[in-house]
Each structure stands twice: as structure tokens, then as C-alpha cells.
């Protein structure tokens, strides 16, 4: 989880430099679906600021923007893999 946390921090503090890789279709342009927002949410779960409940799980399933960002990350991260690792870790703790 240590490596995933580092990647989550980079992504959460990044202002979504990958943002223009998301198609300009309506559903993808919600802020809480962006890679940075999902990383920010994961860190909050990790820190105990958000509960790992169904509502949070449902938000982390919305991955269209994250998938679109792969290959467009300034830092070379594959956020699909990072978020999967985080979710797996949260699930294993409950």
C-alpha cells in the first residue's frame, strides 16, 4: 500500500493535468470522477476521514475518466492500477 499511497498523493495534489484527455461528453466531466478526485477520496478513506461504505465504493467504481487518463499522466502513473490496489487494500481491511 505504501507505493500506492505515494501515487495517490501525487495524483490527489495534481490539478488533473490529464483533464483534457477526457472526452467532452457530459458524464465524464463531473469533478468527483476525475483521477485526482478519486485519489483524494481514497486518501480520505486511508486517513479515516471518509467511511469505506457502499456510497464511497460506488463513487470509486466510476472510472471512465480514470481510464481515459491512462497514457496522459504527467507523472507516468497508471491510476486505474493504483486505485484498484487501494480498493483491494480497503476491502481486505473490512
Amino acid at each position: 500500500m505504501g507505493e500506492a499511497i505515494k501515487s495517490l498523493k501525487i495524483c490527489a495534489f495534481c490539478p488533473n493535468t490529464c483533464r483534457s484527455s477526457y472526452a467532452a461528453t457530459e458524464a465524464l466531466q463531473i469533478e468527483s470522477q476525475t483521477p485526482s478526485a478519486l485519489s483524494f477520496i481514497c486518501l480520505a478513506v486511508h486517513q479515516g476521514n471518509l467511511e469505506w461504505d457502499q456510497e464511497t465504493k460506488d463513487v470509486l467504481i466510476r472510472r471512465n475518466a480514470v481510464k481515459a487518463s491512462v497514457g496522459h499522466c504527467t507523472y507516468g502513473l497508471n491510476m486505474t492500477q493504483v486505485l484498484d490496489a487501494a480498493v483491494q487494500s480497503f476491502n481486505s481491511q473490512t
Binding site: 505515494k6 498523493k9 501525487i10 495534489f13 495534481c14 490539478p15 488533473n16 493535468t17 490529464c18 483533464r19 483534457s20 477526457y22 467532452a24 457530459e26 466531466q29 463531473i30 469533478e31 468527483s32 476525475t34 478526485a37 478519486l38 483524494f40 477520496i41 480520505a44 486517513q47 476521514n49 471518509l50 467511511e51 456510497e55 464511497t56 460506488d58 463513487v59 470509486l60 504527467t74 507523472y75
Partner: protein, 498 residues
């Protein structure tokens, strides 16, 4: 005047004020399906923007302010009018949200305000090739907007570092600037018309025309208003034929003083480089290590020229001649090529991740004062914290003056100490800027953090803004507490005593 720095204060559970089930049901009935987010995780994502001081608080386990009570996703101006009328009737405060890349806290909720995410309003509505204008919805991504124009052979000439991570409406809301501002101007020079929903729920339509003489500019009440006077929904901007040709050059100056003199003469000679960037010794060194020309002449200057081939050639030739008259030497193009490659990246992420306390401050100076202002700031910030990283560059250059863009960075340390030092640094920089007759903000806007210097900046003008706010928005429902205007009752978190 003070800022609350208590980082332990607003744990999200204690300050979470979600919209009531009754209100959300009524709202849903008005706006329809899939336009309302109520879950805590969704709302958490909208509790911040890129205000560095807010991010420091997040790193310390606190929120910058509160969670929003709900997030609404309008798809049209009509949606936004309905939402505003509903919120007016129910006295619910609202904050407009583009891409959240602002660095002054302009979209941070402080009292459970509802967030209006405008990114579903993301279409170009019209390109008028005869008039040279484009009309675009406020929520369109900046890079997608520029690329769509490029496909038609045009450019808006607005290329902020944040172009990929910001919206066109956000550019106008914070009165932003792009990297080619020396040639095309800031966003306020580009906006010809706009539509905005006012706090009374009515639509303001400033029709786009080349010029008018009908009293003070109404559009300029909205451009830079950060949502406190209305939510911009559509903008008509000037566009230009996209130049197919561009050339860069790199110059090494022996000192900052002669660099300033050369840039001033270039701009006052009516030359129009697309980009001019001058760096202090600190920032020059980062970009020129091992380049021979900079051993004797340590000040880096990058220029870019574009346009019709004949004009480009003559502007480049004359600009270089002026620079050489002041002792500059032409140097390797490597710094220009590196800038081109990285011009739209964000530099703060890595420092935030590694627990540093980094921020940027951009102010406007006149030519007659810039050198003394720079030297005073560079000296005084080191008095506050001797190991501070401080560097500056000047990249928005005008005939009358220029923007001084500063980077400050504190090393990892106790977070409360860092928060206090950070605010002391801001206070010192803004105070010195005012002392030298400059403006406290060039293009990042005011948001939350800069509110406390607004009266010193605007003097009696601040009363005009206050009177306008009271008249347009007596319930203080549109982005309360931003632009130096009054906070909502009960606001908490990173609040200023406005």
C-alpha cells in the same frame, strides 16, 4: 485582520451539513435526473480547489472549509436559472465550480454552500469567422476549446499554464492571463460579450460588439467577479487566425536591471513578441546550468515570435537588436525548447507530495518600481525565514509594467509553524507590492486568501463592490466571503476577517 490557522478545527463529520431530504426532493423535481450529487464522497471531492494553504490543511487532516451540502450539475443556462430561483426562494448559498484549478480558494465552501459544477455546459455554440469571434459555454475545458478552434484555423491566443486543467469560464471568473498575454492581452481584453445568471435569478446578456460607449463596462463587472455578482454561462471571445509559423530565441543578460530596460524598450517600441520571459538569478540558474553563455551573463530571457513571416522576421530582428544594445548575447535554444515542452505542466504537485510548503504569488509592478520592489521582497522574505526558497520571473510584459511571478517554498516542518510562516510571507509580499504602487494580483484572482488586502488595493473602490454586492445579492447567496466581501454567517475553516 487575521486568518484562522487552526488546522484541527473542521473535521468533516462535525461540519457536514447535507441538504435536507425535503429540499433535495424538490430540487430533483425541478432539475431532473442525474444532475444532483448528495453522497459524502462526491461532496468531499468538491471541498477543495488548488489553494496551497487549503492543501496544507488537508495534509494536516483538516478541510479548507466545509463539505458542500450538495453538488448540482446543470446542463444549460435554463437549468441554472431554475436552480438559482429555487435557492433564492430557500436562501441556499451557491458556489460556481469549473475545474477547481484556482489557487486562491475561490470555490471553497465555508458554510455548506451548494456547488454548481458547470462542466456539463461544455460546448462551442458558434464560431463567427466574419467577425472573428467564438461563443462558448463556461464549462468547456480550456485545451479542448483551443484545439477545437485550431481545427478551424483559429486561436483564442489564451494559453495559461493551466490550459488543460481549467475551463473557459474559470479564465473569465478570475480575470486570468495566458502565456501569450504580451501579444494577445489578458482574458479581459479578449471577452467581447457574455451571459450570466444573476443572484436574482435573471439572465444578464452583454451582447458581443467590438466597442460601445454606454457607460461603464457591464461585462467587466462579471469578468473577475469570481461568481460573487453572477455565474457566467456563456462567453464570446475574440479569435485570431492561427499562425503556422513561430520561432524562439534565448538571450543571456548580464543583469536583471538591463533585462528590464530591454524588455521595456521592446514593448514600448510597439513590437509584439508572443512570449517574453525574464528570470531572476535563482530561476535562471535552474534552467541554464552548463550552458556557456550564462556563466558571465546569468539572466535568462526567452522570447517567442509568431505571425505572418514578414512580420515575424522583423519583430524578431528588432527585438534581438534592442536586447543586444543592452548587453544580451544570443544563447543555446535548450531553455526555450524545455519551456515549450513543459509549459502546461504543474510544478507544485511534487513539492506538495513531499511535504514542502510551496506557493506562488503574482503581482503587477510598474517599470519604474519593479527592480526596487523585487529586491525588497527578495530581502524581506528571507528575514521571515532565511532558508526559504524564493525565485521570480516576469512573463506578462506590457508597455507600462509587468507581472512579477514569485515562487516561495518552505521545507517540511511542523504544520502549524508552516501555516503561520506562509501567511506571514504572503502578508509581507502583498504589503511591499502595495508600498511600491503595484497591484496585489495580476491573474490568479482574489478568492479567499487575498480578501484581506482588497481594501488596501481598491480603497474607495471596495465600497463600490460592497454596495453592488448588497444590491444584487442582499442574502449573500452567491459565493459568499470571496473577493474580500462579507462571509456568510457561521462560516468556518480557512476564513478571513473580511
Amino acid at each position: 485582520m487575521a486568518i484562522s490557522t487552526a488546522v484541527k478545527a473542521p473535521k468533516i463529520s462535525a461540519k457536514d451539513i447535507p441538504i435536507s431530504a425535503e429540499l433535495s426532493k424538490k430540487l430533483q423535481a425541478i432539475i431532473g435526473d442525474n444532475k444532483l450529487l448528495l453522497g459524502k464522497a462526491d461532496r468531499y471531492a468538491y471541498s477543495r480547489d488548488r489553494l496551497p494553504h487549503g492543501l496544507y490543511r488537508i495534509r494536516a487532516g483538516a478541510l479548507p472549509g466545509t463539505l458542500p451540502s450538495a453538488v448540482i450539475l446543470p446542463e444549460s443556462t435554463e437549468d441554472l436559472i431554475s436552480i438559482t430561483q429555487f435557492c433564492l426562494a430557500n436562501q441556499i448559498a451557491l458556489i460556481p465550480f469549473g475545474a477547481g484549478s484556482g489557487v486562491l480558494g475561490g470555490t471553497i465552501p465555508l458554510n455548506g454552500e451548494m456547488i454548481i459544477d458547470l462542466k456539463k455546459m461544455n460546448r462551442i455554440l458558434d464560431i463567427n469567422e466574419i467577425n472573428g469571434t467564438v461563443t462558448v459555454q463556461a464549462g468547456m475545458n480550456g485545451m479542448q476549446f483551443e484545439e477545437a478552434l485550431n481545427k478551424r484555423g483559429f486561436t483564442a491566443g489564451h494559453y495559461p499554464q493551466s490550459i488543460a486543467m481549467s475551463t473557459v469560464g474559470g479564465w473569465a471568473a478570475c480575470r486570468g492571463a495566458g502565456q501569450a498575454s504580451s501579444r494577445f492581452g489578458k482574458i479581459e481584453d479578449m471577452v467581447l460579450g457574455l451571459k450570466a445568471v444573476l443572484p436574482n435569478g435573471k439572465l444578464l446578456d452583454v451582447r458581443p460588439v467590438a466597442r460601445r460607449s454606454v457607460g461603464p463596462s457591464i461585462k467587466d463587472i462579471l469578468v473577475g467577479s469570481e461568481g460573487v455578482f453572477g455565474f457566467i454561462t456563456e462567453i464570446t471571445l475574440r479569435i485570431w487566425k492561427k499562425s503556422l509559423l513561430s520561432e524562439g530565441c534565448v538571450l543571456a543578460f548580464p543583469s536583471l536591471q538591463v533585462g528590464f530596460n530591454a524588455l521595456r524598450e521592446i514593448m514600448q517600441s510597439e513590437l509584439r513578441p508572443e512570449v517574453i520571459r525574464l528570470y531572476d538569478v535563482e530561476e535562471s540558474h535552474q534552467r541554464t546550468e552548463n550552458i556557456a553563455e550564462f556563466k558571465e551573463k546569468p539572466i535568462l530571457c526567452i522570447m517567442k515570435f509568431s505571425g505572418l513571416p514578414e512580420l515575424l522576421a522583423v519583430e524578431k530582428k528588432l527585438s534581438i537588436e534592442i536586447a543586444q544594445k543592452y548587453g544580451a548575447s544570443l544563447a543555446s535554444l535548450a531553455p526555450y525548447e524545455h519551456w515549450q515542452k513543459t509549459r502546461y505542466q504543474s510544478y507544485s504537485t511534487q513539492w506538495q507530495t513531499d511535504d514542502y510548503y510551496m506557493d506562488t504569488v503574482e503581482v503587477t509592478a510598474s517599470w519604474s518600481e519593479v527592480e526596487a520592489m523585487y529586491k525588497t521582497i527578495a530581502k524581506e522574505v528571507k528575514v521571515i525565514y532565511p532558508e526559504l526558497h524564493f525565485g521570480a520571473h516576469w512573463s506578462h510584459i506590457y508597455p507600462e509594467g509587468l507581472c512579477q511571478y514569485m515562487t516561495i517554498r518552505l521545507p517540511p516542518m511542523d504544520n502549524l509553524q508552516a501555516h503561520q510562516l506562509h501567511l506571514q510571507l504572503w502578508d509581507k509580499i502583498e504589503s511591499i507590492c502595495l508600498q511600491f504602487g503595484g497591484s496585489i494580483a495580476h491573474h490568479h484572482g482574489v478568492g479567499l486568501l487575498r480578501g484581506r488586502w482588497m481594501k488596501d488595493e481598491l480603497n474607495e473602490g471596495m465600497h463600490l463592490l460592497e454596495a453592488l454586492k448588497l444590491s444584487l445579492d442582499p442574502g449573500n447567496l452567491f459565493n459568499p466571503g470571496k473577493l474580500g466581501l462579507p462571509l456568510a454567517n457561521g462560516a468556518h475553516g480557512l476564513t478571513t476577517n473580511n
